[in-house]
């Protein structure tokens, strides 16, 4: 079943990402980032269409420790976690087709 996009923070991140059966694509974003806003609707579409991955968001203003832990230096950064470990990292906003291509191996 396709699910909605969960918002993760310092206290929920490890449990959610670590216990997920499917890969989790985490979107590190912030309110003040224009390109982040551009890809938000794309991620919502992908979340609704793809059953084999989950999508979650981390607001770097609210969870700076998570951003630091995963060495996020630019947003949007998308990190695909498999079995709780980062498996792929994408930096910068991209069109939907390019995004799907990049994460194709996880779908």
């Amino acid at each position: 079943m396709a699910e909605g996009i969960a918002t993760l923070n310092d206290s929920t991140f490890d449990e959610t990402v670590g216990s997920a059966d499917n890969p989790v694509l985490v979107d590190f974003w912030a309110e003040w980032c224009g390109p982040c806003k551009m890809i938000a609707p794309i991620l919502e579409e992908i979340a609704a269409e793809q059953d084999n991955i989950r999508i979650a968001k981390v607001n770097v203003d609210e969870s700076p420790d998570l951003a630091m832990r995963f060495q996020v230096m630019s947003i949007p950064t998308l990190i695909m976690f498999r079995d709780g470990e980062p498996a792929k990292r994408l930096v910068g906003a991209k069109p939907k087709s390019a995004l799907l291509e990049e994460i194709g191996e996880f779908l």
Partner: protein, 324 residues
């Protein structure tokens, strides 16, 4: 004037195709939509450069000089409002990049990948984009210390030492903005004075966290997985030095997005489109240009919006004269 008909279903020609969606393109969309011309806006694709829907303002935070906002407005919010206003009057948006145009005959053709759209008139508002230094390592380290977007990435340099390259308004604006986060910001400039406006210079000079490195060029970008520093060369003596920084923000100017039109539209030697005096008309009848793509001098959101209005009125009157 007949304004409806087959143009709105994607098969017949549209009255107006607008390529680009910054302040110029969206103002042209508002005006042509209100004139009942049902414009199609090819707005671009998401990216982390200024080559995206909304254009260069998507990479800014506070816009303090757009009239009507006494407390300032966030660039992305302003562009969202422009877009909503155009949509309200019936502008249609395609979130794609125009990949090819044929302006040899009317209706004109614009390709989006494999798809083609025809338009009785075309408004070009593809804007300009930031230049990079063109050095090895630069593209590889984007997102790992090298940045083209201070507002996207400044946050991650809290307490660090970083450098901004450039001497114009955008360089000093970024440097000033980045002192919110960085412990120290070096401004590296190849000359001994800035071309930035006085207010931006005054602000930067008054900022204790900014140090100015005059007459220096960045000649090497250092770092494996992430940026560790840059090599600078003195433009007078050639002497080289290393500056250890974890962030490098490049703001050395712009180039117009006119490659698409090189075969068709007259351009200046610097690549900007040429419009006829006091109008948005190009050398091809029925093709109009507005915003930064044809302006290498003012380059403001409000002048772009103003020229978008001119392009819309020029297109509307031209279509009317053609009997559409």
């Amino acid at each position: 004037m007949s304004v409806n008909g087959p143009s709105s279903n994607g098969t017949g020609p549209r009255n107006v195709i607008i390529i680009g969606s910054g302040p110029a393109g969206l103002t042209a969309a508002i005006y042509t939509a209100r004139a009942g011309l049902a414009p199609l806006v090819i707005e671009g694709e998401p990216s982390s450069t200024s080559d995206q829907p909304g254009g260069q303002l998507m990479l800014t935070t506070d816009v303090e000089n757009y009239p009507g906002f006494p407390d300032g407005v966030m660039g992305p919010d302003l562009m969202q409002s422009f877009r909503a206003q155009a949509e309200r009057f019936g502008a249609e948006f395609l979130t794609s990049k125009a990949t090819r145009v044929d302006l040899s005959e009317r209706p004109f053709s614009v390709w989006i990948g494999d798809g083609r759209r025809d338009g009785r008139s075309v408004i070009v508002s593809t804007g300009a984009q930031s230049l990079l230094l063109g050095l090895p390592n630069e593209e590889r380290l984007i997102g790992h210390g090298v940045s083209t977007c201070a507002t996207c990435d400044g946050f991650f340099f809290r307490g660090q030492e970083i450098a901004v390259v450039g001497g114009g308004d955008s360089a000093l604006e970024e440097a000033t903005f980045l002192t919110r986060f960085a412990q120290k910001v070096y401004v590296v400039h190849r000359r001994d004075q800035f071309r930035a406006s006085k207010i931006m210079q005054d602000r930067a000079f008054a900022n204790e966290r900014i140090e100015f490195l005059w007459n220096r060029r960045v000649v090497e970008i250092l770092g494996e997985d992430r940026l560790t520093g840059v090599t600078l060369a003195d433009t007078r003596t050639g002497a080289q030095s290393t500056l250890g920084v974890t962030g490098l923000f490049v703001a050395i100017g712009h180039r117009p997005n006119t490659d698409l039109f090189a075969d068709w539209l007259d351009r200046k030697s610097n690549g900007y489109l040429i419009t006829k005096p006091d109008s948005a008309r190009t050398n091809i009848e029925g093709v109009f240009a507005c915003g930064d793509v044809q302006d290498d001098y003012y380059r403001q959101a409000v002048t772009a919006a103003g020229s978008g209005c001119q392009a819309a009125i020029d297109a509307e009157r031209w279509l009317e004269a053609q009997g559409h």
